[in-house]
């Protein structure tokens, strides 16, 4: 758990200790079990992240280990965040302290939800992820530095190239990852789009 400020403005990189969470196809039900979705705010979710996995591992879950307290980079494997669209999952990770995720691949909705919160999800090959995971586990007290443009990570003198979708890269580095205002700027285009869709006026004649 962290009291670090939430992301704002342009995000060029993330620096922090890394925590490794191994496994393919880790779904959002595991990241935040559904019973914790009974809430009308996201505020309490940080303590509940991976609740059932952590309970099962009785203090040995990576997020519970002493050396990972205060970590801010999560290193995962393939198809992380699949399943339910619940934004509660990245919200819980954010409130635990995660500010960037590196993995082999991400489920799309999870990736988009992270982007909307200013959490970059960066990709690398299976081989590179294995190397980062091994390096991070060997040096849990060292800080990993992530750059978004060009996308890469560095830990104790080792460097790895990462991949970040170009639109996500532009949105994060320009500070325009929080889209609402930008979308509203196109008032005329929104009206024009609605006007060319016949279902908007119930397929009225003419």
């Amino acid at each position: 758990m962290t009291s670090a400020p939430f992301p704002t403005g342009s995000i060029d990189g993330v620096r922090g200790r890394a925590v490794v969470l191994r496994g393919n196809d880790i779904d959002t039900d595991r990241i935040i079990p559904a019973r914790f979705l009974k809430c009308v705010t996201f505020e309490g979710l940080g303590a509940q992240v991976f609740a059932d996995d952590r309970s099962e591992q009785q203090g040995q879950h990576p997020l519970d280990r002493t050396e990972h307290q205060g970590a801010s980079v999560l290193v995962v494997n393939r198809n992380f965040g699949c399943g339910s669209s619940r934004e509660h999952a990245p919200q819980a990770l954010l409130r635990w302290g995660i500010r960037a995720v590196i993995g082999e691949s991400f489920a799309e909705i999870f990736f988009g939800n992270c982007l909307a919160l200013g959490i970059p999800c960066l990709q690398a090959s299976t081989t590179t992820i294995s190397a980062i995971q091994a390096a991070a586990e060997a040096a849990p007290a060292s800080e990993l530095t992530i750059d978004l443009n060009p996308a890469g990570a560095e830990l104790e003198g080792q460097r790895w190239e990462l991949m970040l979708a170009s639109d996500a890269q532009k949105m994060l580095t320009s500070g325009q990852w929080d889209a609402t205002r930008q979308l509203l700027q196109h008032d005329q285009q929104l009206k024009a789009t609605a006007a060319r869709l016949p279902y908007i006026n119930g397929f009225a004649a003419g």
């Binding site: 934004e87 939800n113 299976t126 639109d167 889209a179 929104l190 279902y199 004649a205």
Partner: protein, 478 residues
């Protein structure tokens, strides 16, 4: 040329291409597209924080008339009297009611005759129509693609964006055509087909893609069956899946409360027909299946991709691709199943028929056909949860509730129920369920050690009467 013009003239365009082009508002500096949203469905779980954020920004709902609400995830299925026994559930519903009232949004409330699981409710009211873009803060929004809509799940920040602007930021997906030849054999259902597809292509196979389901086997499916297929596109990693609109689609829509009527109906059908993928449509890739070769399919593991035919055995490590072996080992342990063990004959504790995947009238009919004249096996808890108030009323009108009750099933009120653990319906301890829902993730059905076997509603009914996983084809009349 403005966005979208001319797109419908191209016979090489897919439905996805055409609908995308028509809904493009602008290109954003990041290179992403601002996409107009035709129908926004909301429910109590993923909307409260979005409304709160909207208020913080001092913004209002741009198109309340294109936003429709219902309550589904948290409702109890035994008694739906207010206030709910669970104060958190009550607070969520009260918050949704207040947000709808303050913003002029139509709410299909409990007892209105129109409440239901959001992906059952919208189609049956005729809200979902071909050519629309449909979003909801729920991954199973892909269901609505059955109508030839481009429909996908979004997170709460995007719910906020759509409330504020009736649009969101999106990137265009690739389109993969899944061509299904032949016909499903008796005792094999749409659920089996989609479980088979996910088993074949994997749970991440569809990432970055929309799935177009096409071919003779798909054309032969009813709208409810098409909804089952599209519902689970997301379980294969595809954020949206769709079927081209055809006579089956139009026949389903005609006369529904929100469907166009009179002269408008003819104009609507003409427009809808123009949106179907052209004869020369170009797909990014294509995968072919033979419907006749598919058996009733059951998941044995902890992802929807870990499925096998009911006549097969749990795959051994040697039969599993190397990269999938750690997950297989985790699944053997969690499910307490042995590699090489036949899935038929695995005893079950709980049998659940319902959910946005399989909680529609035809699903209940298929299960009732198995249940009629039989009895739920001793010690099995079996229950049926209609997907909506309309489904419940229709099922009761034809006596399906009586069939189920006579067989020892409980007949419940509509809601998401035991698909996910947000209401009182949940597994306890290590219980193992035969479930017509969509996810067999660890802990999904409400117990951190609870186990789920996904299958068709008829297969769930067969498991209920046999007390163990059973090939429904041995029960149904030949």
């Amino acid at each position: 040329m403005p966005f979208g013009e001319g797109a419908t003239a191209l016979s090489s365009a897919t439905l996805y291409d055409k609908v995308w082009a028509l809904h493009q508002v602008a290109e954003l500096p990041s290179g992403s597209t601002q996409l107009f949203i035709g129908l926004h469905l909301i429910h109590e779980v993923t909307s409260p924080q979005a409304f709160a954020a909207l208020k913080d920004l001092g913004l209002s709902v741009r198109h309340p008339e294109r936003t429709v609400a219902t309550v589904d995830h948290i409702v109890p299925t035994t008694s739906q009297a207010r206030p709910f026994a669970d104060p958190l559930a009550e607070e969520m519903l009260t918050t949704l009611e207040r947000n709808c009232q303050e913003n002029g949004i139509s709410m299909n409330a409990l007892g209105s005759g129109r409440q239901g699981i959001v992906h059952v409710m919208a189609p049956e009211l005729g809200l979902t129509q071909p050519g629309m873009t449909v979003v909801c803060g729920d991954s199973h929004t892909s269901t609505h693609g059955a109508f030839g809509a481009i429909a996908f799940g979004i997170g709460t920040s995007q719910v906020r964006d759509v409330l504020a602007s009736q649009s969101l930021t999106m990137n265009k997906l690739k389109v993969r055509r899944l061509w299904v030849e032949g016909r499903l054999r008796p005792g094999v259902y749409a659920k089996d087909l989609v479980l088979h597809i996910i088993r074949t292509l994997g749970v991440k196979g569809g990432v970055g893609h929309a799935y177009e389901f096409a071919g003779p086997a798909i054309e032969a499916l009813s709208m409810e069956e098409r909804m089952t297929i599209c519902n689970m596109a997301i379980e294969g990693g595809a954020r949206c899946g769709y079927v081209n609109p055809d006579a089956t689609t139009f026949a389903y829509l005609k006369g529904r409360p929100y469907a166009p009527a009179g002269d408008a109906w003819e104009r609507a059908v003409q427009w809808w027909q123009s949106l179907a993928s052209g004869a020369d449509a170009v797909f990014d890739d294509e995968v072919r299946f033979d419907a006749a070769a598919i058996a009733p399919t059951v998941t044995w593991g902890i992802t929807p991709g870990q499925g096998i035919g009911v006549d097969e055995a749990v795959p051994t490590l040697e039969q599993t691709p190397e990269e999938d072996r750690p997950l297989a080992q985790e699944a053997y342990r969690y499910m307490d199943l042995q590699p090489g063990q036949q899935i038929a004959g695995v005893p079950v504790d709980v049998c659940f028929i319902g959910s946005c995947t399989n909680g529609r009238l035809s699903d209940l009919r298929a299960a009732a056909e198995v249940a009629v004249g039989r009895q739920v096996a001793d010690g099995i808890k079996a229950f049926v949860v209609p997907g909506s108030e309309q489904v419940a009323a229709a099922a009761e009108a034809e006596g399906l509730d009586a069939v189920f009750k006579a067989a020892g099933f409980e007949w419940r009120e509509p809601g998401c129920s035991m698909c996910l653990a947000m209401n009182p319906d949940r597994l306890e301890g290590r219980q193992i369920s035969a479930s017509s829902s969509n996810r067999n993730f660890k802990g999904r059905q409400g117990s951190a050690s609870g186990r789920t076997l996904l299958m068709s509603p008829a297969m769930v009914a067969a498991a209920a009467v046999a007390g163990e996983v059973t090939d429904v084809r041995t029960i149904l009349p030949a």
